[in-house]
Symmetry: C2
Amino acid sequence: MKYNYLNNLPLNEAKSKYYAHLKEVGFSGQSETVPVTDACGRVIKEAAYARICSPHYNASAMDGVAVKAEKTFTASERTPVTLTPDDYTVVDTGDPLPDNSDAVIMVEDLIEGENGNYEIISGVVPWQNVRQVGEDICMGDMIAPSGTVLTPSLCGALLAGGITEIEVIRKPLVGIIPTGDEIVLPTADPQKGDIIEFNSTVFKGMLGEINAKVKVYPITPDKKELIESAIKTALSECDIVLVSAGSSAGRDDYTAEIISLFGTVLVHGIAIKPGKPAVLGEALGKPVIGLPGYPVSAIVIMDEIVSEVVAMYYGKAKPLRKTVKAVLAKKIVSSLKYSEYVRVSLGRINGKLSAAPLARGAGVITSFTKADGVLIVPQNCEGFEAGEEVEIRLNKPLAEIENTLIVTGSHDPLIDEVSDFLARKGVPFRVCSTHVGSMGAVYAVRDGLAHMGGIHLLDTETGVYNKSYVEKYLPEGNAVTVKGVGRVQGLMVQKGNPLNIKEFRDIKNCRYVNRQRGAGTRILCDYLLEKNGLTPKEIDGYHNEEFTHTAVAALIAAGNADAGLGIYSAAKMYGLDFIPICNETYEFLIDKSYLDNPMVKAFLDVLYSEEFKARLAEMGGYV
Amino acid sequence: MKYNYLNNLPLNEAKSKYYAHLKEVGFSGQSETVPVTDACGRVIKEAAYARICSPHYNASAMDGVAVKAEKTFTASERTPVTLTPDDYTVVDTGDPLPDNSDAVIMVEDLIEGENGNYEIISGVVPWQNVRQVGEDICMGDMIAPSGTVLTPSLCGALLAGGITEIEVIRKPLVGIIPTGDEIVLPTADPQKGDIIEFNSTVFKGMLGEINAKVKVYPITPDKKELIESAIKTALSECDIVLVSAGSSAGRDDYTAEIISLFGTVLVHGIAIKPGKPAVLGEALGKPVIGLPGYPVSAIVIMDEIVSEVVAMYYGKAKPLRKTVKAVLAKKIVSSLKYSEYVRVSLGRINGKLSAAPLARGAGVITSFTKADGVLIVPQNCEGFEAGEEVEIRLNKPLAEIENTLIVTGSHDPLIDEVSDFLARKGVPFRVCSTHVGSMGAVYAVRDGLAHMGGIHLLDTETGVYNKSYVEKYLPEGNAVTVKGVGRVQGLMVQKGNPLNIKEFRDIKNCRYVNRQRGAGTRILCDYLLEKNGLTPKEIDGYHNEEFTHTAVAALIAAGNADAGLGIYSAAKMYGLDFIPICNETYEFLIDKSYLDNPMVKAFLDVLYSEEFKARLAEMGGYV
């Protein structure tokens, strides 16, 4: 098997080298002329100067009458001035001031007399209630410097300044070539081994957000000559070419090799994780970038490098990255060899912004959908301790992050269902739910990392749920439990129960899939093992840990395991057989200070509503 | 003259009344089904649940060989394990795991032996280097609740979860009807009395930013039957109708009257400034809103009300408004009758965010182009003092605002020209320049409100510029002046000099236009008056004050005045005659602590460059 190691160039060196080369070959955007009425969001090529003044004539600023101001100087309550029809002209807002007048009296200030006369009891000074020429914009003034992104009001100012057409940078066309023998177009019914091609959709969305147009080429199999021909076509049609997957150094990775046929590979392999196997190349004066096949790796390269290449096309500086300081909720260990991009969710609890690391796998696209930001662990840094203040690069507006109800703890699909009910009601906040197990919820509520946490913790001595745990871990009584749901726990087994599993002790003879430490279901498992005189060592798969009921069900349905503990609704979803073991009390642990929080209250209101009970009945397994 | 007074309903009451009515008539968006590959940025109608797991099969996470893990358990440096071709299958990243294997050994960990054998010196545990079914997404998991705005990564997650099409809220079509006899399509050559119709372009841009589509109807004159017919057409074609201008209570203001023909007018007149003359109506279950004709007034209504109506269409809460605390740079006095929206520019100087109020006229669109945010002075509040902490609603990302070089003081077009040179170099900051006169610059630098300020302050006793002022007002020596330019000041007079003005004293016999108090040019004017034995009272127009050289030139060119003091480049721009009076020293005042600031340095580097000298020569009047 051929295996070529990649370089491991630090990110900043990779960027400097690449951008310097692109600059040298003159990479930058061409311009085009567009009507200003359609130019919002576009980037102007040259500074724009007003061609006319705005207003371009002396305009009445009010509805009223235009007069010569000096006629009115003596007016007062005692000495009113009478204006005859010769003295005034009726004007509406925007009307040009008639010759020989230099001020306007508002209609509200006119007292009607006879024969079309008006009386006034206060005078006006020259140019009062008049928008003089150039009040807003003066001919020759610079309305916007080169490179300005046109906002709606800037487009208005350009038009007001007599500019009807403007030269803007043509939007770059970015060609995306998805490659791979195993890649298939989006489908709800992929075959084993098929990988659904969704990366190009993610890239297209990201590029749209930074003012680039996209052409997605057909999926190209891992054949050198086919990829070569696809890149050739894309180079002739696009300003920037992205080759998705095949950027590493495996036996089917041709991107780097092919780019060097057309031009130059500047970088192959960057010391970042995820994102290492990236190829930064140039051909015919255009950037050609090989993106890793793993979605998260590719997103990191898109965000770090492709976005800056697009900025360079527009002649602009690197995009500004908004960062915030946050307290790290969990320790992170990172390799010294790479700079690591850890996705985090953020929450503002009691004024303190905390960052919880999300799944770190390069294939886990949901770690990006949930990510509020990214913590970049520098190269040569071993990581950060829980409680340390760290800098987070934001993916979402802080205002959105701060309007978030954070529900953590034991996994139950009902939390997502409540979120959906709330969303449909149009509440002004979102719900962020994370699955850290019941014990995770206890710690999170104690440490101020969540507003509320779902728990179902069996006291194996008393058979009572939750109470003793809360008393032990939150002895100061700051937190209370509120009613959640009763639910059925049981063994999920393959459809038709081929191994004829009847009770918990039967897991001894099958491949089990467990929940993570700290999960209420794990505690239940350990309790049941002990009760049945079994030890973890006797259970095949005891150390195979998953974080959710659905993940356990999925592995059983896939045949990776034969049985696992979980709730009925998960078994139902996957068409598994279900052997009920016990009913349990699933409650929410809430710091007392949040009982009046409008988000918490809205959450519980939904949970206790009749409407929601109907939804629970539909899901099944709630008692 | 007919005049109907408007209501003056407090904003919140107006909103409650209007939104409650829209809710009652069932105003909300219909949905449509789109491919997920094109759904980025769209709002989903219902919660989206994964149809398949991702991965949907057990996939190799690495290039390497798939094995049965138990075969490898004993491997160590001392006791290597040999894998024969029967023991392994070569797999690439993403390949399905062959039956009878449950782990992958990375290619880097394989030692090639003979006959296709491999040796390994460390074992793998079950499922190591395997992406198990559902690692990322489990079938049945909620990927996003109802009403979610699809981000690029969410589109990826939907596709990964087997969702290829999705129901999204159809984008609302907003019809805009510009009305008014005096309104003309954008042109560089409007006639006197013509008002360029740019409001619809501003609205279109704003609506595009909040996911609405726009149809702009032809300009409709102020004829009741024509406006009626335009509204009828728009109501049949659009989801929301905006009528631009004619919303007040003047003789040509028909909007409210016509809306009530088709439906209901809920509100006419809101206690906000600018924005008061707005009409909030409903017809055929659709919002019909009359917007004020003044652009700034209309923008306030767009931002406060139309944006919330669009959110309501999408079934979402009101848009979140990002606010920051800032220190007010200048006192604001506001009417008790209205809630007032004061546009401000923001700057971060020495860590302190300060807010400088911009022009308050309702017709000044440039007050919005320059605005970083809006200070809302509540109804029944008289205003705020300079130095008070106020809350600013942001119009721009804070990161952009914080990367701003603030140059204030005396007006000279060279500042905009330097900004443009910097923008063309792609510097990672913007320049914000405000015209507050030379004395304004001295105070702003002293009070930490600007990085640098342009000054040309003549000491009338010594004839030396700037020095004595800096010593007097900044006695602690914290600020220094650095070289700017020499420039010619003189009298700008109408082309051909019809009044035969020869020297400064001749302004006695003409209509003068002055600069504002604190401007260096005003100080020069007062000095010249005294020198010529003249008093302000003798000068017609002494109190007619403008803030820039171009504004003075514009008024002379328009015939509003006969003469004014200013710099040569402004006179040249307007084709005016110019009578030189003196050469002056225009310098930049900078707090010492900013001399090393990279933005300040970049500004001065451009100013002193040969390239820029050529530009100054082109503009003329610099010596």
